[in-house]
Amino acid sequence: MILQIKNQCISEQLQSQVLRAIDEQMSLNIVAGNSKRFLGRSVQAKCRVLDISAHCGIIEYNPCELVLTARAGTPLKEVEKILAENGQMLPFEPPHFAGGATLGGAIASGLSGPRRPYAGSARDLVLGCKLLNGRGEILRFGGQVMKNVAGYDVSRLMVGAYGTLGVLLEISLKVLPRPVVSTTYCHECKPEAAIRFMNDLLRRALPVDGACYYKGQCYVRISGSQQAVTTASNDIPGEALSYQSHFWQNLRDHQLSFFQTNTSLWRISCKPATAPIKIKGIAAVNDWLLDWGGAQRWLVGDIEAGRVRDPVLSQGGHTTCFRGIKNNVDVFQPLSQPMLTLQQRLKKSFDPLGLFNPGRMYAAL
């Protein structure tokens, strides 16, 4: 398939930049669209920028195979456009935030949008990758097929590693048909009731692909064939939401008014049926937004990290200080010492000199 989009391979240039960095023992700050610059710890000082945005273009896409392979610097917009033209989509709905997001950044940060509990996460959909490790070697793992158990699953390990294990060069992903119809219903309820309702949906075979609770309203998206959506709508209470509201896209990209705040934004990952988490000084409804049917919760407010982290941890969840980090708190949930040691060993196995994005995830990685 011939594509009109920007298409350029600079993997050899990137490789020589990494080799030079090895020679000079100079750390590298890997960037592409820079749409997630706010996220994570700031990379330790004295780093050279390794810009991969010029390494872009879709390499292979055959809709019947449900697989797309593209260079890491390819803008998500371009990937989504060509998929849409063929009636397909990236099932994990990666956030674009303010725009300019690339495929490599989406995979390196491993973030997924509202459809995640129902269609899988970024890591679930990765099939293979080509990467540059900290020895300056170009390696390929996984492939362009759905099933592949030859060797350790290094491709999925790259997802959410924030570039600290290697420079992603190419990524192959599983893609899926875009549902023919999608409708959202919205009803008013208390948070407890919303959590119960959204979790009941998990036990019923309904074509739900989004469930969120925001400002006292529970939003449920159902998608599929016309028949399926019409029938399922009998089971979902509330009013149909206008298509023009772009609710899910605004949720995905943090454009809803909830996110427009100068205070810290916390991301809480918990078991979906976890009862509303009570934190002193935080309003039970307005300071929370529940996505992923209750499994991903957002919290706004300037509160001390321990007061968010402790109650979440005690319920088996974990937290990220997503935006507006104050007082040098750990961005990601601190790891236990044995776990950190194992992760450091793993980091060393890919990047023995610690060149890639040092400190972006944890000070010790």
Binding site: R178, G224, A228
Partner: protein, 488 residues
């Protein structure tokens, strides 16, 4: 561990950690553990341990670490790549006694189980809550969830519902140092590197799974299967792409060729058309309305693609019968010859015609018949080569034929194993699929978990030296350069 004295001492200390009947050292009692589902490789271990407490496993691992005794984990031993093949100087650690379902949490749709729980037992336990565990390897009545995680097993429903890796939330492992660690979490992600993804499919090389939390799904309101017959294998292959092009992701999409159809028909009377060159089984599930609509579409597509017959199972009993034929394809084909050898390559689906042609040509060249069973939706082929191990040289010929198939899968952009793992069996083909820098990276990953390489050593990832020798073997066209080398 080198000498007999140390060996005695090790066994003695091991005996102190386990009840009398949980440690086997006599040849006769260890026999059942000498091989897994790939029985052409057999070897007795130094001892077999059958613990049933987490602390026992921790203590065993510490002892093995201290004595530098390699450890091979074993679930049900249904693996098809020799992954659980014992090592002569090693301990075989059976997890079979860890067979308790610890918790079903319907509110969060998850189940906590021990590693020795059988795959199907999870689905049975979840049924009262209208839930089930999706990955369904054909061996599901016997294989364990621990083995499934170690192999990243698939099943006939993984096109829509994913492999093991997509359906596991958390595992607790015991490291070679005896440390208990939790990877993943009960939530949808976990902080730090995704070690859960890395350890899924790691074939017992990185840690021992001791507890697993799996995701459960609601039982679909309706499941319906359509059977289509074709007079040409290629047409059947094209029909698969055509269904997907309609925007439908079937729950299962399986293909069988003539030999497999006839074998299955003779074995379980599934109701397959015996004279077809290929059949497709296409399962659709979801809400009643959705399934009705999709059946119509799929039937139309199949007819348009030249199916000679399209049949929708008329009731649940017929649907079960259609699947029974497919799920018993291996034993059914097994009745056609004294032995069969199951391959497991995956290819991009559009390459199917040339791969099938190549398999046919090779079959003629080697004089060995092949039956093809195929997870068509996700491109995973299972050619079953029929042979007779009692005929001198026939096993070697079969293995050579099998390697050729796998190498061709790599050549067309696929892989040497879709779901059965590398184990001992495909270790040389790893040299075809990966470059030395990639293999070195795998070794480095292993060292992060197991610096002394005591967990299932010698499996899954070949040494560079082995690959160099394998390459040399290739150059010499089957005339082995190093006949004395171990060559499984």
């Amino acid at each position: 561990m080198t000498n007999a004295e140390q060996r005695r001492q090790f066994i003695k200390e091991l005996g102190l950690l386990l009840p009398f009947d949980a440690l086997l050292t006599e040849v006769e009692e260890m026999r059942p553990y000498e091989c897994d589902g790939l029985s052409v490789y057999r070897r007795l271990p130094m001892a077999v341990a059958l613990p049933d407490q987490v602390e026992q496993v921790q203590a065993i691992m510490r002892l093995c670490h201290e004595y530098k005794v390699p450890v091979v984990a074993r679930g049900a031993g249904t693996g098809l790549s020799g992954g659980a093949l014992p090592l002569e100087n090693g301990l075989l650690l059976s997890l079979a006694k860890f067979n308790r379902i610890l918790n079903i949490d319907p509110a969060n749709a998850q189940a906590t189980v021990e590693p020795g729980v059988r795959n199907l037992a999870i689905t049975e336990a979840a049924k009262p809550y209208n839930l089930y565990y999706a990955p369904d390897p054909s061996s599901q009545i016997a294989c364990t969830i621990g083995g499934n995680v170690a192999e990243n097993s698939g099943g006939v429903h993984c096109l829509k519902y994913g492999l093991t890796v997509h359906n596991v939330l958390q595992v607790k492992i015991i490291t070679i140092e005896g440390e208990l660690m939790t990877l993943g979490s009960e939530t949808l992600d976990s902080p730090g590197y995704d070690l859960l993804a890395l350890i899924t499919g790691s074939e017992g090389m990185l840690g021992i799974f001791i507890e697993i939390i799996v995701k459960l799904l609601p039982i679909p309101e309706r499941a319906q299967v359509v059977l289509a017959a074709f007079d040409d294998v290629e047409k059947a292959g094209e029909a698969v792409g055509a269904i997907i092009a309609e925007g439908i992701i079937p729950a299962g999409l399986e293909m069988m060729d003539k030999l497999a159809i006839q074998a299955a028909e003779d074995f379980v009377h599934a109701g397959y058309p015996r004279d077809a060159a290929a059949i497709l089984l296409c399962e659709l599930d979801g809400s009643n309305a959705e399934v009705s609509e999709q059946i119509m579409t799929v039937r139309d597509v199949l007819k348009k693609q030249g199916a000679t017959e399209v049949r929708t199972a008329k009731d649940e009993a017929e649907r079960q019968r259609f699947w029974k034929g497919r799920k018993s394809a291996f034993p059914a084909v097994g009745r056609l010859a004294p032995d069969y050898y199951c391959m497991d390559g995956t290819i991009p689906r559009y390459q199917l015609p040339i791969v099938l042609k190549r398999i046919n040509d090779l079959s003629a060249e080697y004089g060995l018949p092949v039956a093809n069973v195929f997870h068509a939706g996700d491109g995973n082929l299972h050619p079953l080569i029929l042979y007779d191990a009692n005929k001198p040289g026939e096993l070697e010929k079969t293995e050579a034929f099998g390697s050729k198939i796998l190498e061709f899968c790599v050549a067309v952009g696929g892989t040497i194993t879709g779901e059965h793992g590398v184990g001992m069996e495909k270790i040389d083909q790893m040299c075809v699929q990966f470059q030395s820098a990639e293999l070195s990276q795998f070794h480095a990953v292993k060292e992060a978990f197991d610096p002394e390489r005591l967990l299932n050593p010698g499996k899954a990832v070949p040494t560079l030296q082995r690959c160099a020798e394998f390459g040399a073997m290739h150059v010499h066209h089957g005339q082995l350069k190093y006949p004395e080398l171990e060559r499984f």
